[in-house]
Symmetry: C2
Subunit: 504 residues, 2 copies
């Protein structure tokens, strides 16, 4: 390898080590740290964050980038060195556009905003939260203004989470989703309570749930040498490199599906990090490329696989072994129907697979209106409640169950929500490609043969890390650009069968 | 506060944040990390270690130190600012004496040495370990040579762990310990099997052991808001600041005393970190001052308190509640005798309170001979086995149970062992001061009133952090310089009573 490139790689490897330590500190805070440690941890995280930013944006990085660029063919999409220069330059150009002072203010406002949000949510007091929200949104606008070339101020925000995506494209795709989903949900709702979730409810020992989750994860493809499973209030996954993947779930005594499907979701995230090519480790290329592609992996395992009929056939006997008293008689169909019940509801994170997307559509539309100045923060509750009525036909009783339910805006995370739906749609698009390439994959799921799917995802998505932009990665994997038609086909087929709807 | 001092404090706070993150990474590695993560973690630790060293030894630190020194009265032993300058300058002067290249070689040799030792220990093959040992000892000698003003090359090594201590003083004190202990142990051994450890052996559910340990720790003074208790193969304690103290223990099904007394030992370390003054946090002053003083705290709680008659009176009913089948009839005397059985043995970490010091004396004498060139590394097994015979009257059957038992030398940790015995002796010296100041402390222990002792230790030792050198701290706390007479009095009194020996 030419030495300029090696020098760049070495510098970036050190920065990546520090970023991984920041991820460790964050994982520890959410999973292990005793609560009183929060104050000191905030200082440590701030120090490390500043340090990483300073090292990365140092002129030396630019100098090494230029020197390395001269040694590679930047247009070569597959060469690791070219990708390193390309992706790092993109990151660098974004990072140096934002004044350190603004960054520091955003970090401070996010911390204060989170605190104000937590209190306001507890008290159901949106007015008390409003000043912190306004402050964060103001800083978000100033951040977006650091990128005056963007076609839409929403774009640089979105780009932080989904590199290369634009508000215009997301808007067009979401309109298609909305147009397709609203009538489907209406048809489902009209059919009434056809599916029954109660077969999965009862009283389930958490230790036995833990053992079941562990068994399912091992059979899906984890091991104890490179993975951890822990408990977190808000489950998440963290990859501290491909050899140290940590997933979390949470246990509800009454509903074992919560821990189980939550863990399968996080397994999807974890497997992505696990299967990034080893030669990309300790580099900016060595992790998942975007939140949307990441979410496509978790949704694929949780929903497309996990809530499918063949997977239900595989899972039912395992549930029966874990809880013989409750599940000895549980058959595949009953399980499949219980985990696919649709019911429009108030809270995003508890929403079913069919109504979930509309929760995101609402948030995206609100974010765009806020940024465009068509909506004032104080008007949020009214706008929210009207949107929930229009999209899902539900009435919001209070802001706790309404506009205060999610943490994101309190920390200035605008442009983040769309990635949940992008990922959900991408999962279905990938699945059509999987079915094309692996015609027997569904029989495999029923038999617990997950390796072909893991390998396909590893080859088409995971191993590339951040080498390709999400759109390029998706087009290579599926042969098409982002397309929500597979997603609507998937939902119509699935719920058409489950709810006995006429084909649309 | 004058601004030069504030600038220094700010710079050091950032460095301290990074040091704490290094401690977190190390705790995680030993307690949580899946094994495959070791390779990446080594890179992260090395990156962070270099960064901390570079930042600390940067000329800017020296400049700020000089500027801050001009604003304080350096001779004032109690002023926080003066202590910050004094202690930091001492650390700085040591840190800059050692070339970065030597430091890197030592880190590399330590990692390789550890690996070679682990293999050699498994295979009982000292010869295979010898090259790595010679390399590490050679680097230790080069390290010591960076401090040509030292009276003895051993001194700068010892000083890393016990600031201000000298080989000459340690040697004199250890000779006293040896002279006092050898006849005591001979007298004990002559009495034969007077005490019986078997009442504490059997088959004890680890979950119930965990609950017992948790209860005992809470009553000693921990809580769930600022402490963690976990499992580690080699138990240790880590303070990530006073509000995040983590202790570990290990469980043996057959011997609940292992986990319990191990946890009490680590509680002593943890309480020290917990009670460092809050205004010293995020500074180089904000932790325990030396390994010896630290060990005095763990030994005081584990042995002087934990294996005392009054504490046994408090503990016995708790053991009976945790394990009614085994311990319903356990009385104070039986417990007290079972945990104080003396038997010369081969392995330091399993040694009883009376014979433990001689294990350290042997290691110290060997280290001095190695450094002085009076002993070649290849002669170590013979020297070791002869020493064990002379000091403890035991015959070493193989190197696994002999010279290969401890990890320290494989990583170039020379000068570390003496702190175990210094701490053990200091615990007894502190205890005489406790008895003088708190005449009813022992009645308190029997009643589970630990707060007066915690507060005394907090006031005399813990709150000072690293402000005072160990010798100053000890003299202030007890009124005397380091003195092993209290320790010999303590052992003679304790074992005299337990073994029915004539007063010496």
């Amino acid at each position: 390898m030419p030495s300029a490139l090696e020098d760049l790689r070495e510098r970036l490897a050190g920065i990546e080590d520090l970023r991984t330590l920041a991820s460790l500190a964050s994982w520890d805070q959410m999973v292990m740290m005793p609560p009183r440690g929060a104050g000191a941890r905030a200082e440590q995280a701030a120090t490390l964050g500043r340090l990483v930013h300073d090292r990365f944006t140092d002129p030396e990085t630019a100098r090494l980038l230029d020197a390395a660029a001269a040694t590679v063919d930047l247009a070569d999409p597959d060469d690791d060195g070219a990708a390193l220069v390309r992706v790092t330059r993109r990151d660098f150009d974004k990072a140096v556009r934002v004044p350190g002072e603004l960054r520091a203010e955003m970090a401070r406002a996010a911390a204060l905003g989170h605190e104000a949000w937590a209190r306001a949510r507890e008290d159901d007091d949106f007015a008390a939260f409003l000043p912190a929200l306004e402050r964060n949104l103001d800083l978000v606008r100033r951040y977006a203004a650091c990128f005056p070339d963007a076609a839409n101020p929403y774009d640089p925000l979105l780009d932080d989470y989904e590199p290369g995506a634009t508000a215009a494209e997301v808007s067009a795709r979401f309109d298609e989703v909305r147009a397709g989903l609203v009538p489907l949900i209406a048809a489902i709702t009209e059919r009434g309570e056809v599916l029954d979730g109660s077969p999965l409810e009862g009283d389930f020992d958490v230790g036995a749930q833990r053992a079941l989750v562990g068994r399912v994860l091992r059979e899906l493809g984890t091991d104890d040498e490179g993975w951890r499973l822990d408990v977190a209030v808000h489950p998440f996954a963290t990859g501290l490199g491909r050899d140290d993947v940590r997933i979390t779930t949470r246990y509800e005594v009454a509903r074992p599906a919560t821990a189980l499907y939550g863990a399968i979701h996080e397994f999807g995230h974890g497997l992505y990090e696990r299967q990034v090519a080893s030669e990309l480790q300790r580099s900016p290329l060595g992790s998942g490329v975007s939140l949307g592609i990441h979410e496509s992996q978790s949704r694929l395992w949780e929903n497309v696989v996990g809530r499918s009929l063949p997977f239900s056939a595989w899972l039912a006997p395992r549930l029966a072994e874990a809880f013989p008293d409750a599940f000895a008689a549980l058959d595949t169909d009953t399980l499949h129907r219980a985990v696919n019940r649709v019911a429009p509801s108030l809270v995003r994170v508890e929403a079913d697979e069919a109504t979930y997307p509309l929760h995101i559509v609402l948030r995206f539309e609100i974010e765009r209106d806020l940024l465009a100045g068509n909506l004032a923060p104080r008007e949020l509750p009214a706008r929210w409640n009207a949107g929930m009525h229009d999209l899902l036909g539900v009435e919001v009783p209070d802001d706790r169950l309404g506009v205060l339910q999610d943490v994101h805006w309190s920390e200035g995370l605008v442009g983040y929500f769309p990635t949940y739906l992008l990922g959900t749609a991408i999962a279905a698009q990938l699945w059509e490609a999987v079915l094309r390439d692996l015609p027997t994959v569904e029989e495999g799921l029923a038999a617990g043969e997950f390796a072909p799917l893991r390998d396909w995802l590893g080859d088409r998505i995971h191993r590339h890390g951040r080498k390709l932009l999400p759109a390029e990665l998706l087009e290579r994997a599926t042969g098409s650009p982002l397309d929500v038609a597979p997603y609507l086909r998937y939902l119509n087929r699935k719920y058409g069968a489950l709810y006995g709807l006429a084909a649309t």
